[in-house]
């Protein structure tokens, strides 16, 4: 519902209206700010709860005959399997590949690095 249209206004009233209006704008935007904080907090809690819930689920049984990787290096996007390779050697190889392909390291995805024995 619209308020009744104001036909005329004095200078004093214009000051008062401006003060109230700035207060309303600040209030509305402050409420949106609080809603964003609340939303972020809820999502964080939900993710934590979800992670805990997943942690309680018993691990899937793995076929004992399947070959197990020798070592794993934690990465930001999944795990990198290292076979007969040290982390230091793997880091060097990753840096060389990033340099030679001119691709930032965080855009490359390495699945495994294996030393080839002759």
């Amino acid at each position: 519902m619209m308020l009744a249209a104001v036909e005329s206004i004095s200078i004093g009233e214009s000051f008062a209206l401006s003060g109230v209006s700035i207060g309303i704008i600040m209030g509305v935007l402050a409420c949106i700010m609080l809603l964003i904080y609340l939303m972020s907090w809820l999502f964080r809690r939900f993710d934590e709860w979800n992670a805990k819930r997943k942690g309680k689920i018993p691990p899937v049984t793995v076929d004992a005959t399947a070959a197990e990787p020798v070592a794993k290096a934690p990465g930001s996007c999944g795990d990198l399997v290292l076979i007969d390779t040290t982390e230091r050697e793997a880091a060097m190889i990753m840096a060389i590949v990033a340099d030679s392909t001119e691709t930032p390291l965080n855009e490359l995805r390495f699945i495994s690095i294996k030393q080839i024995k002759e």
Binding site: M2, S8, I9, S21, M26, V28, L29, I32, M33
Partner: protein
């Protein structure tokens, strides 16, 4: 057939016969704005259209725009506009009904990334503080004896948001539409000239050099829920902002869902371009000599500058308060970006920050208050519409 008489009649019907000195002055002004848009690149996408509309409407006897159809005391007769109106009368329906500004806001929403603001919600307060100029110019316009609706429309120039200014003015002061639109878009183009001196004047170098922490990554879920949440909350509080803010958030939702890429692409490009084209030329058409060549236009240009300057001052001073409260974690320069004018104002804050500290990259931090300013100016327009509409 008297060939001589044919030439005489043609000469009488030509625009030259109907030319007045006011028309000539307006044509020169239109050419000047075309120069600013084309050669100086002052908001060319809008200014070229506005200037060309101004040129067309001031060429005598063209009959493509009839201001009397839009200012009739008994209201607009749209059937009459469609039957007797010229081309620009028909295009102007989109301005008068508020269609164009809202469709532009769909496009603006689809082009806006609210991520930096969601990552740093405090920047919303800077967007609110930077609306100070709207109300300073409003008070000054009242002092200069403008009526309240006109004063509100002049004030909203300080929101530095063209579609919002047009949306409010077409309802409260349609007779000032061309002057306000031109002032708004011209000053938006002049932000790199208006803001830096105020930044250096009001913020000490030590504070201008403050480096801000890197923003956190914002999840897709947050970006999807944000426009829905803001629409519901803000429209419930201020129903008068439903059209503007609703369109802005709808456009943003199209961008963020990830399942409406085609619609988002259309809103950002084809729709935005078509509406910009119609909006510019039809707003320019309202700049006929009788409505434009008067003291009010000069006052509007001056008050528009005051509005921009005070909005910048409001953002900077509140930025300093936040810098003090957070013990130097916020660079006050980003407050100046709260004037909206996306992304120009954010870029200006970034460039000034770089000049004071070459290792300081403020752009993403300034984008927060910058997009908050869009919401802030829409809320300010909604309040003014509620009071004076």
């Amino acid at each position: 057939m008297d060939i001589g008489q044919v030439f005489v009649d043609l000469a009488k019907d030509s625009g030259f016969a109907g030319m007045t000195w006011q028309n000539a002055v307006m044509i020169v002004i239109a050419l000047f704005f075309l120069f600013l848009g084309i050669a100086k690149k002052f908001e060319p996408l809008l200014l070229v259209g506005i200037a060309f509309g101004m040129l067309l409407t001031n060429l005598p006897l063209g009959e493509i725009y009839h201001p009397e159809m839009w200012t009739a005391a008994e209201g607009v007769n749209y059937a009459d506009v469609l039957q007797r109106g010229g081309l620009l009368d028909v295009l102007y329906i989109g301005v008068k009904t508020g269609l164009y500004p809202c469709l532009i806001f769909v496009g603006v929403g689809a082009m806006t990334d609210f991520g930096p603001m969601i990552a740093n919600p405090k920047s919303l307060l800077l967007g609110a503080a930077a609306q100070l100029g709207v109300f300073c110019a409003f008070i000054l316009a009242i002092v200069f004896k403008f009526d309240p609706g006109q004063a509100a429309s002049i004030g909203i120039i300080g929101g530095a948001d063209g579609p919002t200014a047009i949306w409010l003015t077409k309802s409260l002061a349609p007779e000032l539409l061309s002057a306000i639109a031109i002032a708004a878009y011209s000053y938006m183009a002049l932000i790199p000239i208006i803001q830096p001196p105020l930044m250096r004047l009001l913020v000490p170098k030590k504070e201008r050099m403050v480096k801000m922490e890197q923003l956190r990554e914002v999840s897709k879920r947050e970006k999807i829920i944000f426009p829905i949440m803001v629409t519901v909350f803000t429209v419930l509080i201020l129903p008068s902002v439903a059209a503007l803010l609703g369109c802005l958030m709808f456009g943003n939702l199209l961008k963020e869902t990830g399942v409406t890429d085609r619609l988002s692409d259309t809103a950002q490009n084809a729709l935005m371009n078509i509406v910009t084209l119609f909006l510019g030329i039809s707003v320019g058409a309202t700049a006929q000599a009788a409505a434009f060549l008067n003291l009010d236009t000069i006052l509007i240009i001056i008050l528009g500058l005051v509005a921009f300057a005070f909005s910048t001052v409001g953002g900077l001073l509140f930025g300093r308060v936040m810098c003090w409260v957070t013990r130097g974690k916020i660079n006050p320069l980003i407050g100046a970006a709260g004037v909206s004018a996306v992304p120009m104002a954010a870029r200006v804050a970034h460039v000034q920050g770089l000049k004071d500290n070459p290792d300081n990259y403020l752009l993403m931090h300034a984008m927060g208050p910058n997009v908050a300013g869009v919401i802030g100016s829409a809320v300010a327009a909604g309040i003014l519409m509620s009071v004076f509409g």
